[in-house]
């Protein structure tokens, strides 16, 4: 309903421009899923960037320009007796007004764009520019350039180390972490939903502690637990006679190294998923579940046919965010014994980029790896965003 109501407060109405009632859609008004919180906010930028006529949301976009034109046309015959100049002057004024309206959002966006451009896009551009050079300390000091074409990319993509070690490490580690994080987070969210208020508060604040712990601190705790020389886990298993502490070092094996890193990352990130999914769960009307119970669906069936479809956008968002985070895990790997480059079998793209550029001072090479990591992340994000929007359209049509 909100989409049909012209908002009188939206745009100041200059007397010279009678077509002003063609008020742009209030941003977000055509956004059908405001209730789900997070998904709504992801769409908001789109709505803000182009609030002008003809570029509004999906359902009301066609209406606004039409509504804008019709009063104008209706007025034209009324002024037929007046000189044509008046009409064209008014036309000009209208066009100017429209131009002003169109430029205003950009003006309002300018500070944000300047900040984003200065702090994000410019450095990003520099990284790309650097990735096509053999860029070392000498170039930094002298401010000179040293282009080598795509040699950095050729070297990276041409070595088997990328394909057999770094890329599998990055992708598999991220995939496992995302899957475990989302599953564990969802289970905890379902648990939270069933707990009485006191226990819910206690549980929620306990898991928040894991989230609030800085990654560096958390990593040291896990390293300390799994330390082969006096760490609680190895000593405990050793006293049970399961492992020989003197001959054990889980940080040297690729699988065991990543198993510890996975525990660390999942432990650190599942609370976010739990809290977000929990917020989503609260929006599901109780009647849906009651109807399911009446129809004889068991908990498993109700979860898959009621809960999951109802908060699918929430799942999409936590999966996207977790994927992005887990692809670029750095601290948790770099700080583990051997993770700083001493054990080449355990590097992922992020750590490799750092080791290449900052430890070896080959900034061009590191930049090229960073660009590849960014492209990989962009590709994944595009796939997810499209899935998210497809989901949104589907939902918009069904409402």
């Amino acid at each position: 309903m909100a989409t049909e109501a012209p908002d009188p407060t939206e745009v100041p109405d200059p007397p010279a421009a009678p077509e002003a009632p063609a008020a742009p859609e209030p941003p977000g008004a055509s956004e059908p899923r405001g209730a789900t919180g997070a998904p709504g906010t992801t769409e908001a930028p789109g709505a803000v960037q182009a609030p002008g006529p003809g570029a509004g949301g999906t359902s009301g976009a066609g209406r606004a320009p039409g509504a804008g034109r019709s009063p104008h046309r209706a007025a034209a015959p009324g002024t037929a007796t007046a000189p044509a100049r008046a009409a064209s002057a008014r036309e000009r004024a209208a066009r100017a007004a429209r131009r002003r309206r169109r430029s205003r959002p950009w003006l309002l966006l300018a500070p944000a764009l300047l900040a984003v451009g200065g702090l994000l896009l410019w450095p990003l551009g520099r990284v790309v520019w650097m990735s096509f050079q053999d860029y070392g300390l000498r170039e930094i000091v002298g401010g000179s350039t040293n282009y080598n074409g795509g040699a950095n990319y050729a070297e990276i993509l041409g070595q088997s180390y990328l394909w057999t070690t770094v890329l599998p490490n990055t992708v598999l580690f991220a995939a496992v972490c995302v899957a475990l994080t989302v599953v564990l987070g969802t289970l905890v969210a379902l648990l939270l939903l069933r707990l009485p208020p006191l226990w819910r508060t206690l549980t929620a604040s306990t898991i928040m502690m894991a989230w609030a712990m800085p990654a560096v601190t958390g990593t040291y705790v896990w390293v300390w637990l799994f330390d082969p020389f006096g760490g609680a886990v190895v000593q405990g298993l050793g006293s049970l006679g399961l492992v020989d502490p003197a001959a054990t070092n889980w940080f040297t094996g690729r699988l065991t190294f990543y198993a510890i890193a996975t525990v660390n990352v999942v432990h650190h990130s599942f609370p976010f998923v739990a809290v977000t999914v929990f917020a989503g769960l609260l929006t599901i009307p109780r009647e849906l579940h009651e109807a399911g119970v009446v129809d004889g669906a068991n908990a498993w069936q109700r979860f898959w046919s009621i809960t999951v479809p109802a908060i699918k956008p929430v799942f999409l968002v936590v999966v996207i965010l977790s994927t992005i985070w887990d692809f670029k895990v750095f601290v948790q790997l770099y700080l583990m014994p051997g993770g700083n480059g001493a054990n080449p079998a355990v590097l992922n793209l992020g750590v490799w980029s750092y080791v290449e550029s900052f430890a070896q001072r080959q900034y061009g090479m590191g930049a090229a790896i960073a660009v590849l990591l960014t492209l990989l992340l962009l590709a994944i994000t595009v796939v997810y965003i499209r899935a998210l929007f497809a989901e949104g359209r589907e939902k918009g049509e069904s409402l």
């Binding site: 100041p12 200059p14 002003r100 003006l107 309002l108 300018a110 500070p111 300047l114 200065g118 070392g136 300390l137 000498r138 930094i140 000091v141 002298g142 330390d227 082969p228 020389f229 006096g230 502490p245 003197a246 001959a247 054990t248 070092n249 940080f251 040297t252 094996g253 014994p337 051997g338 700083n340 480059g341 001493a342 054990n343 080449p344 080791v355 900052f358 430890a359 070896q360 001072r361 080959q362």
Partner: protein, 427 residues
């Protein structure tokens, strides 16, 4: 209404642009010394209480030159990045303490001033510790003046050795025997940990066997880690762990900080440790006072194995407006009085041979052996930026880890490491 809305927007934009412009130009004028101030970067933490020392130096400096001293402290872990950023932004200090392995790199990049002429005219010229002087020389020119350094030697538990009637080994076979003896008699301790992530410990064994890390070849360098002598050193060092069980798998991922933790916890009986570590260990665990002793690193058939000297140079950046003033400061800092004072406060050795030799005469079992090691058998790694790259890549640490964890044989690991080093020397 529009008339009222717009100007503020423009105003904001204008203010923003102005602010940006200010910060941009602000970056360009970092630390110029045009007002009679000398900006100096000093590493943080070497001297636990550096403030009073530099107050005193500052007063003496002002008295001597009339200029003010502005000392800024830089934490070691961030230091290299900070130097790099300062070079990129043109905000380098006038004088800085520079890690001995960085000097060649910065000199090669063109950031440092040539100090050869100044040094030749000064009195301390012949007194510089040779290995530190080598590390500060690039392309035949001196860029870093030796300030202070530490050295690695054998550190052991005096009480444990006395209990079992052992004495410090004086050759490699003895070292192995003592370690095996300790393994039998002190099962709760690591007799001699073999560190997987400490290149400098390995270096001593490579040099001790008569090998080299790399040798000059033509215009550049060639890796020598795959040569017969070097391989023998690598083999002896790693075999202590892989064949004689004097270490544990845990040490495969240890660096020197982990070793210090092991010594502090009383879990390590003997190790290759830095001259600066006993103070830290005893400070963290006072009951170990008097229970630690040091000995120079034994050579393979007696004598000494050379060991890496790690420390700091003082260098002058090209950006320094008054190069003479900068040199005056370096001269003051490396004068016998302040060099010794700094050494006494930090537990490192001064970069002057005469002062190190004097320390070697002292009776302190934790000072004299280290001083002897430094004066008689101190070495430095190849002085080329490419070697910094190799260290960053951890080529040698990778090699040791692969051997210790059983992934590669000594032959295979050294051969591959040599190839990797040559690749870095190549470009």
């Amino acid at each position: 209404m529009k008339q009222r809305v717009r100007p503020p927007v423009r105003g904001v934009a204008l203010a923003l642009v102005t602010a940006l412009a200010w910060t941009v130009t602000g970056c360009g004028t970092g630390s110029a010394s045009d007002d009679g101030t000398l900006t100096v970067w000093i590493m943080e933490g070497t001297n636990p209480d550096a403030g009073p020392f530099f107050d005193e130096v500052g007063a003496a400096f002002t008295e001597r030159t009339g200029a003010r001293l502005d000392v800024q402290y830089v934490p070691w872990p961030d230091a290299h990045d900070k130097f790099t950023k300062a070079m990129a932004g043109g905000t380098t200090p006038d004088v800085a303490e520079i890690g001995t392995t960085w000097t060649a790199e910065f000199a090669d990049a063109g950031a440092l001033a040539d100090l050869t002429a100044h040094s030749a005219a000064a009195e301390g010229e012949d007194d510089m510790v040779p290995a530190l002087r080598t590390a500060g020389t690039y392309d035949g020119k001196l860029y870093g003046v030796p300030w202070y350094a530490g050295v690695r030697a054998l550190l052991y538990r005096r009480d444990v050795f006395a209990e079992h009637g052992l004495s410090a080994p004086t050759s490699w076979p003895e070292l192995r025997e003592v370690a095996r003896e300790l393994k039998e008699r002190e099962p709760g301790m690591l007799p001699f940990p073999v560190l997987g992530d400490s290149e400098y410990t390995l270096d001593a064994f490579v040099w001790g066997a008569g090998g080299e890390l790399a040798t000059p070849a033509g215009d550049g360098w060639r890796s020598a880690i795959g040569d017969r002598e070097a391989v023998r050193g690598v083999d002896f060092y790693t075999s202590l762990a892989t064949e004689h069980g004097t270490s544990a798998q845990a040490a495969t991922t240890w660096d020197e900080a982990d070793l210090v933790a092991g010594l502090t916890n009383g879990k390590v009986a003997m190790a290759v440790a830095g001259s600066w570590t006993p103070a830290t260990i005893v400070g963290d665990r006072p009951e170990l006072a008097g229970k630690l002793a040091a000995a120079p690193l034994p050579g393979s058939d007696g004598g000494l194995s050379p060991s890496f000297l790690g420390g700091s140079h003082l260098g002058v950046f090209h950006t320094a407006a008054d190069q003479e003033l900068a040199w005056e400061f370096i001269e003051l800092m490396t004068s016998a009085e302040y060099a010794r004072k700094w050494a006494d406060q930090t537990g490192y050795f001064p970069g002057r041979t005469s002062l190190v030799e004097r320390a070697a005469q002292r009776r302190d079992p934790l000072v004299a052996p280290f001083a002897r090691q430094m004066a008689d058998a101190g070495r430095t790694v190849p002085v080329t930026p490419a070697f910094g790259e190799i260290q960053g890549k951890k080529t040698l640490a990778r090699m040791v880890q692969a051997i210790l964890s059983g992934k590669k044989s000594v032959q295979q690991a050294t051969r591959e490491a040599a190839a990797e080093m040559d690749e870095s020397f190549g470009d």
